[in-house]
């Protein structure tokens, strides 16, 4: 088969980049070899045919529908529509936060929160302090066997009314030694919050009797601290000194009542 030499320009492979750039720029005066290509490109850019303009009515209809809406009003409506959900969202968030906070505060003052949170609430805004979990293991020294004054450091903040409720179940845990707290009422009477100190609220007393020795606290109000306090139960001879009834949970807090006498006057201990 004869090898017929072909013009190097015939397939466009010899066209320079400048020629091709000129073609793309729409120039018709290019290399002769590229003239057919120039004709093709010119045909692509020819005047529009009637068929290519047939959709004008459709496009104008779409334009008319969009253009018929006044711009400012549409923007204003969009702005209002966007503002309302934002305000609603903020209001809902604020309401939710308020409900949660009030609920948490209520729970804190009711004393039903978990112990760590309850302690936090107590420290933060004065909610009642946490009670120890009933099932928590109790150290032996917290069950009324602790010597007075052993928990003096905790007594500063925890001397309070908790021992009242703990004495409602005499005999359950009240295996304290009766009489050990009887020598300490004098100090408790001086404190306006020492409700059960008059009879030794540390779980002392005899389990099951529920009466203990109410009179023992009365004999020593004379430490000077609580004179004139109308709420000092020990002074009035509380017939049901709660500490004496056998504190079911006398842990550290009742021991705190021991601490107080230890600080002020252990010498009053009988």
């Amino acid at each position: 088969m004869p090898n017929i030499p072909q013009s190097p320009l015939q397939d466009g492979s010899a066209a320079t980049d400048a020629d091709l750039a000129a073609l793309l720029a729409g120039k018709r005066l290019v290399a002769h070899s590229l003239q057919p290509v120039a004709d093709v490109l010119a045909a692509l850019s020819a005047e529009p045919s009637p068929g290519e303009l047939a959709g004008e009515a459709r496009a104008l209809a779409a334009f008319g529908r969009r253009a018929g809406v006044p711009v400012p009003r549409r923007r204003a409506r969009r702005g209002t529509a966007g503002l309302t959900p934002r305000l609603s969202t903020k209001a809902a968030a604020a309401a939710t936060t308020a409900v949660l906070l009030s609920g948490a505060a209520t729970a804190a003052f009711a004393g039903v929160l978990p112990a760590p949170i309850q302690r936090f609430a107590h420290d933060a805004f004065g909610a009642p302090n946490a009670r120890s979990a009933p099932s928590a293991p109790q150290p032996d020294h917290a069950r009324g066997k602790t010597a007075p004054g052993q928990f003096a450091s905790r007594a500063k903040s925890k001397a309070g009314a908790k021992s009242h409720g703990q004495g409602r179940h005499p005999g359950r845990h009240g295996h304290g030694q009766p009489g050990t707290g009887q020598g300490q009422p004098g100090n408790g009477q001086g404190s306006p919050h020492a409700k059960g100190q008059g009879a030794g609220s540390s779980g002392q007393g005899q389990p099951g009797t529920g009466q203990g020795q109410p009179g023992t606290g009365q004999g020593q109000p004379g430490n000077g601290q609580g004179q004139g306090n109308p709420h000092a139960k020990g002074q009035r001879g509380d017939p049901h000194p709660q500490g004496q009834q056998g504190n079911p949970h006398p842990r550290a807090k009742p021991a705190a009542h021991h601490a107080r006498p230890a600080r002020h006057g252990s010498a009053m201990d009988p």
Partner: protein
């Protein structure tokens, strides 16, 4: 291309001027259809109509010169064409049993058609014989009037890749016309 009048026409169209919009449409729609007849054959008119609807929606917020306007227009058209192709690919194909031979698409040789009557339609048919990227680049450069950088952004290619594709496409086009018997 409109030229210096473009800014005022665009502003008038954005203000609701129907005549201004008509002018923009008449200037751009033929090129749009020619482009779509290559990249979305058989659905060019529908895609063009959808493109204009979308353009009308965003017309008020458009900012830019005529080059940007055309780039936006052809980008929108290309996306609509791609969406249409995806939609069609998900649809089950129509069986050919009920189609007569007369309804089947002809396999007319693109080069022959171009040589017989080098009309716009024939040129589009000839261009359809090129690889897709090369044809698209040539159309966007020649028909849409976009520069290399705009085409590169539209196609998400580098300007160098666009140049290479354009030159290869032109060389391939020259080969097609030569094979069809064009004497040099």
């Amino acid at each position: 291309m409109i030229g210096d009048e473009f800014a005022s026409l665009l502003a008038a169209a954005q203000s609701g001027g129907e005549a201004a919009f008509s002018r923009l449409w008449r200037d751009a729609n033929p090129a749009l259809l020619r482009y779509l007849r290559v990249i979305a054959p058989g659905a060019a008119d529908d895609v063009a109509a959808e493109t204009w609807v979308q353009v009308v929606r965003g017309l008020r917020s458009f900012r830019g010169d005529e080059q940007a306007w055309r780039a936006w227009l052809f980008t929108t058209a290309r996306r609509r064409a791609i969406d249409l192709a995806r939609h069609r690919s998900r649809r089950p194909e129509t069986p050919l049993d009920d189609v007569t031979v007369a309804q089947l698409p002809s396999t007319e040789d693109c080069a022959e058609a171009a040589l017989e009557h080098l009309s716009t339609a024939a040129a589009i048919a000839l261009l359809s014989g090129l690889p897709r990227l090369q044809a698209e680049v040539i159309l966007l450069r020649v028909v849409a009037g976009l520069d290399t950088e705009s085409v590169a952004r539209l196609l998400r290619k580098s300007p160098g890749a666009v140049r290479v594709a354009a030159h290869r496409g032109l060389r391939r086009l020259a080969q097609l016309t030569a094979d069809a018997g064009v004497t040099l």
